[in-house]
Amino acid sequence: MIKLSGIIKIFNSGRTNEFVAVGGVTLALEANRVTVLKGPSGSGKTTLLSLIGCMARPTSGRITLHNGLLSGKRFSGIGEVAEVEVTSLPERFLTEVRRQTFGFIFQQFNLVKGVTALENVMLPAYPLGEKHDTVRRRALDLLEMFGLKARAAARVEWLSGGEAQRVAIARALMNDPPVIIADEPTAHLDSKLSVDFMEIIAKLKAQGKTTVIASHDPLVCGAAMVDRVIAVRDGRIDGEGP
């Protein structure tokens, strides 16, 4: 599981536009569960998400990744450990932890324009130095899993909204991460596609993955497979429950 203790994140510290995005959050997220962070925009849930996903370092507080998540993963330089405190890891190591632990799905999908769907999916694996063919095959398999094999060579600008979303999910799964992080995944999708998305999440949960979603979409918050809904407001936790 992922433990956060007393996490504070301040932007532009010391200047006139100083802004406290997260003001003291203590949280423990369990493995193999779907957790939703619910809150209006500006509540700090996106920042919280990026902190959980090791994309940013907190101004103060500690974040620890526990066993279960890390089994089987070996981080060079840290060795095999039961627990990793990520707060004071330099960027190089933080990135490696993130690369192997988290898969991100962004609100805007954030696929690289001008590049094919296949290559977009392959991108996260480039810095790892695996054999090109292996990477390519894995990416194709992922696309096939989402029924996109035929669209592999298409440029992402030509994909429909639903197709792009699935490419984004495939990309997030490229390095087989144990945790999926999604930020407002249904914001640009219609109801049908939103339901499709949550079904994919259910499937991933069945495979043993942990999911953390930030959303204020009732469709997401009220979905059946969601185990825990945490309300976030003004950078703090405001209660739990469906």
């Binding site: 962004f106 590049v115 480039y126 130095g129 695996e130 090109h132």
Partner: protein, 379 residues
């Protein structure tokens, strides 16, 4: 380990190449300017080096030593009797008097070199002229050229022929004439010559023999061919160097341009880097992308710049630069420069172009690479 490194770099290089091609407009303009800078510097260098070689080749046929007479520290015609004296020095194979001088032609404001060749001198009142003169004054075989002598009298000479164009560098302004005509024109004393050309048996003894000549004939000054070569080398190097220093201004502008280009990331580019960071690329990985970008652009610009410069200098005779190199003279020789380029020149050009470019782009590359993935999350 190494294998992983290779695969990683291969993948990133692949991505960089496609990324460059995706932004053709920006990269094409950079490539054009870069290649132009390389072209200018390379042309200057190739021309200089080729001229040096050309001069050396021509000077190869020059006499090993020339003995001049000095009067009051200034040049004076040398007595013919010195020839025998020099011949008597051990190690000297031959010593022959030379007759030559300068003539100023007010019609076109140029200096001609008048010379009496050692063999096959033209007949009396006939001259053989160099291509530069025939072109500029439009005088050809059987035309008449009038020269004014020291006594004020004009003498007419018929052009019997033109000097073959092979050694234009030296002969463009040359006029060959008979000895009697020469002496008459300049009122040159019969017992004097302009200088004496000497050749020796053993090259290594040149310095010794030169010293002996100076000892034997204290009013003379021996000049060695290698000194002349060195002087020409220095002059060409100096001229080439001056051109390069001037081109350094262009280089500075180029460096600033490169910096601007590298810094001016479009919103799209920033977003792309943000996405890469977000999906797990490190700052170091993005810096590798930027480094390869620079490498690819440098490689192509450098190659194209050098190849076009080569063509410019050796196939088009460096028409853009020739005036600065050949001396501000009126008579331009027209000759094909022999192609010459070696790795050393390429290395120098590399230092003058690719290095400054690389240095100018280090900081902008870094600033691009440290883009926060956080920003992507928020967009």
């Amino acid at each position: 380990m190494i294998f992983k490194w290779i695969e990683k770099h291969r993948s990133i290089l692949d991505f960089t190449l496609s990324s460059l091609l995706r932004r053709k407009g920006k990269n094409l303009s950079l490539f054009a300017v870069y290649a132009l800078v390389v072209f200018m510097l390379a042309s200057a260098m190739f021309l200089t080096q080729a001229m040096k070689r050309e001069a050396a080749l021509v000077l190869k046929d020059a006499p090993e030593m020339i003995v001049q007479r000095l009067l009051g520290g200034r040049y004076d015609p040398i007595p013919m009797e010195y020839v025998e004296k020099i011949k008597s020095i051990r190690g000297v194979v031959s010593a022959a008097p030379r007759l030559w001088g300068y003539y100023y032609d007010p019609v076109i404001g140029a200096n001609y070199t008048l010379m009496v060749p050692r063999s096959d001198a033209p007949a009396s009142e006939k001259i053989v002229i160099g291509n530069g003169i025939s072109r500029t004054r439009m005088i050809y075989r059987d035309d008449i050229l009038s020269l004014r002598g020291t006594d004020g009298m004009t003498r007419s000479f018929t052009v019997a022929g033109e000097i073959s164009p092979e050694s234009e560098l030296v002969s463009a302004d040359l006029i060959l004439m008979a000895e009697t005509d020469f002496r008459g024109l300049f009122d040159f004393p019969a017992d004097r010559a302009t200088d004496i050309a000497v050749s020796v048996r053993n090259q290594k003894e040149l310095l010794t023999i030169a010293r002996k000549v100076a000892d034997l004939l204290p009013d003379t000054r021996p000049i060695l061919r290698e000194e002349m070569v060195r002087t020409y080398d220095s002059v060409f190097d100096w001229r080439g160097g001056i051109m390069i220093v001037l081109l350094l201004m262009a280089l500075l502008a180029f460096a600033i341009f490169a910096w601007e280009k590298a810094s001016g990331l479009s919103a799209d580019e920033k977003r792309e880097i943000g996405i890469l960071k977000a999906i797990g690329w490190e700052t170091a990985d993005v810096m590798i992308v930027k480094a390869y970008e620079g490498l690819l652009i440098s490689f192509f610009s450098f190659t194209v710049g050098i190849l076009t410069a080569y063509g410019h200098v050796f196939f088009f005779s460096a028409f853009l630069f020739v005036p600065a190199m050949k001396g501000w003279s009126v008579l331009y020789p027209d000759f094909r420069i022999t192609p010459f380029a070696d790795p050393y020149q390429v290395a120098i050009l590399f230092c003058l172009t690719v290095m400054p470019y690389t240095v100018a782009t280090i900081v902008p590359s870094w600033r691009a690479a440290i883009i926060d993935p956080d920003a992507v999350m928020r967009s």
